[in-house]
């Protein structure tokens, strides 16, 4: 936030995967601290806090998919509109990488297909959905603060 000073922060759903607790107050604190940005939540299936909690924050809510420039910002990947590129979250995409000597690991990834880009979830408790990518999908994982492209044909 300090470095890029974004005008807008858009959260693609499932911001608060729980009933209300003290963490919500911490979140509100953070949004007030960076009040120069506009905070937007595209609501996901887990965003179930009572209305009042959202009202107290300076979040703008969007109940539906939100077009913005060439993008359609959604929570779930099956919302697709012609001419717009969907950016979404929801499924927590991940890849399983295999190496010799029975090495294998699962890592969160970005996945960009022709019309839909899915962003990863990095939380420890969020779980991963291991992707079965198409050949022309573009896949990226983050390793030690670097972005590494993984050719889709390697994980097919």
């Amino acid at each position: 936030m300090h470095r890029w000073k974004p005008e807008k922060v858009i959260i693609l759903g499932d911001l608060f995967h729980s009933a209300y607790n003290a963490q919500w107050e911490n979140f509100i604190l953070m949004t007030t601290r960076f009040a120069q940005a506009e905070w937007i939540l595209v609501k996901g299936n887990h965003d179930i806090l009572r209305e009042a909690h959202y009202t107290r924050s300076n979040l703008s809510l969007s109940d539906y998919a939100m077009p913005m420039g060439p993008f359609l910002l959604t929570h779930e990947p099956d919302e697709v509109v012609d001419d717009l590129y969907t950016l979404c979250g929801h499924i927590h995409p991940g890849l399983r990488l295999m190496g010799s000597a029975r090495q294998s690991m699962k890592v969160p990834c970005f996945s960009f297909s022709k019309q839909v880009g899915i962003l990863p979830a990095f939380g420890v408790f969020t779980g991963l959905h291991i992707l079965q990518p198409e050949t022309d999908d573009q896949l990226f994982v983050i390793a030690d603060k670097k972005v590494v492209e993984i050719p889709a044909k390697l994980v097919l």
């Binding site: 190496g99 029975r102 690991m105």
Partner: protein, 814 residues
Amino acid sequence: MTEIKKHIKAIESWFVEKGWKAFLFQKKAWEYQLKGYSGIVNAPTGSGKTYSALLPVLAPYIENKQTPKGLQMIWVTPIRALAKEIKLSSENALKGYGLDWTVDVRTGDTKTSDRQKQIKKPAQILITTPESLHILLTSKKSKKIFDTCTNVVVDEWHELMGSKRGVQTELFLSYMKNIQPALTVWGISATIGNLDEAMDVLLGPSKEDKRIMIKANIKKKIQVETIMPDEIERYPWSGHLGIVLLEKVIPIIQKSQSTLLFTNTRAQCEIWYQKLLEAEPSLAGIMAMHHGSISSEIRSWVEENLYDGKLKAVICTSSLDLGVDFRPVETIIQVGSPKGVSRFIQRAGRSGHRPGATSKIFFLPTNSLELIESAALRKAIAEHRIENRVPFIRSWDVLIQYMMTRAVGGGFKEKELYAEIKKTYAYESIDREEWRQLLHYLLHGSQSLKAYDEYQKLGVTADGTYLVNHKGIALKHRLSIGTIVSDAMLKVKFVRGKFLGTVEEWFIAQFAPSDTFWFAGQALEFVRMKDGVVQVKKSKKKTGKIPSYMGGRLSLSSQMAEVLREKIYEYQEGTIKDPEMKKLLPLFDLQNEYSRMPSRDEFLVEYFQSKEGYHLIMYPFEGRNVHEGMAALIGQRISRMLPISFSIAYNDFGFELLSDKKIDIKNILSDKLFDHRNLDQDIQQTINAVEIARRKFRDIATISGLVFSGYPGKEKRDRHLRTSTRLLFDVFQEYEPDNLLFQQTFEEVLSFQMEEMRIRLALQKIQEQKIFISFPEKYTPLSFPIMVDRLREKMSSETLLDRIEKMKRQLIAD
């Protein structure tokens, strides 16, 4: 005649009438109990141990046929099934003496209406379990009931002692001793390695009371016969099923009146049942199955029919280790290594119940190397090397649960309760600071959880009584009493409603409607999941998946491991005599030719390359638990020297560190690698220890009431429970690492799971041995079973980026 002699005479009157002769140990037990002693009677099942402890309580009332008012004796038993039998024998004795006493059984199966009656009008004798006693303590009327009771007998104490149920028993006894200073406590125990300690645990460490150990000295003869594969060259080197030898089992079953076939896991049990039925259809209807996931209704049916001699064979797991004697059982078959001497003796003892009869047990090896264990078992039995049962101490989870129990049952004063529990073996070493932390936890939740009011459970009154104010908290607590935390299981029912048993959530998750699986000995078609119940119908298909259950892998006990090593050393010492060992000679020769059969003063290490990578295999022969810890430790120490990733596997013989990088093995195998100093620190730092602790924390969180597993019929899903305990664990790890429950988790992992003490001793032994490094061309008879194990742990000291780039390169190269 003294009072005591008079009483003994009264007891013997019934024996005379029946034409029985009392055993010496029985007479001794009567005498000392009447003298006001407490103690332990060490006697095997079926030897009249029940009457050794029961009759002195009746003795003073026999002459005048009196019925004293109120509860006289509590009989604690570890399993519900035994309660019925104890009730029968006590009623027999009461009838014999013409006494008009009543006997109540109170277990988890007792109906609510009966429980209320038992509280209103207590019987003279109460037969019950540790859990039921603690639930009774939550009733404000309990003190009135327990007030009149002067005798407690704890049956099968060796069984209880090695678990947290033993701690529950200790706590209950500390309560009883406080309200009843004249209390006598008797434990009945089978032979274990640490009987003296068992007495201290039961009676408390203070030794102020009069106490005595009475040994029955009844030795049962045990005959071990191995079911040998015809050609050792063609018998598999790894595996755990042993179905190849099924043809040899059928005649054994046919020859004896009734046979119990023990398997180590429930999955094995299902498979053996199915395969036996296929091979010998005439067994249908006279063969049954018994394991812990089958409904208790079906299990009782099996037990009754076995008792009545209507079953030719029962395929079972440890679920039939304990319990009532089945007289028709003539033969026992053990499939696969029993891993421990006392478990094997216990199972052998399930046959040959007539006094003086020999117990016969067949051992069926499921792979070639298990033949060594057969020979080792025979040696261990002959030399009487029986395992210790290690008691739990300082189990804060159980203590917290007990403090809640006392708070619900009328409240407690903290100084009084502190003095009470400090007299137990488990909490002898507690100090005021630890006690203060526990009280604080119950009043306010822990340090890091005080923001959440659901963790604030107790209140204090003006006069300093700690109690529970909310009915909801009291109810939740009553429902959570107990120390056995099982995986959340889903009920399996026929669509029409009949309950079959339970399976684990993840097993069912793989099915779609109309898929078939085998359970409780029948092929079932998955219909649907409804309200958390797996609905099924019978299937005509022959094949289907078989549920496997977690936690089926036992580890060799230290006694077994020791005898096993001695057997292995026989090869180089030229002292092989057992038929099993002779049969294995070709395999040993092969091992010695490819690599080395280690001798007593050698520690064998093998290093070789295959297309999978570089295999580093070490053989401490200490059992899988110890190897799990050692592999993590050695792996971690190597990965501190150079960036490397390992895939780790282990079995009872040794462990493997597999990597894709060649290492200079001679350089790495230094004394430092096997150093036993700083061990606990090094082990705690392994990812393994943290991961195991994280899993283990679920039990501790459940017992201590940190998490609630749900109201009856509305049990929380396994996944949810696991997630919430994981979260709590991570909160403690980050913010409150000195939390007592968090600390306890690591202590339990170190001492029970990883058996740190044994790792230490094993490392010391390696220091004294010469390291024998061999570089075989390919896998060896000893390494093969480890290499093919698919259940693997991982460890890496390479950066994520390096690993990903390396995998990319490897993938592109392929």
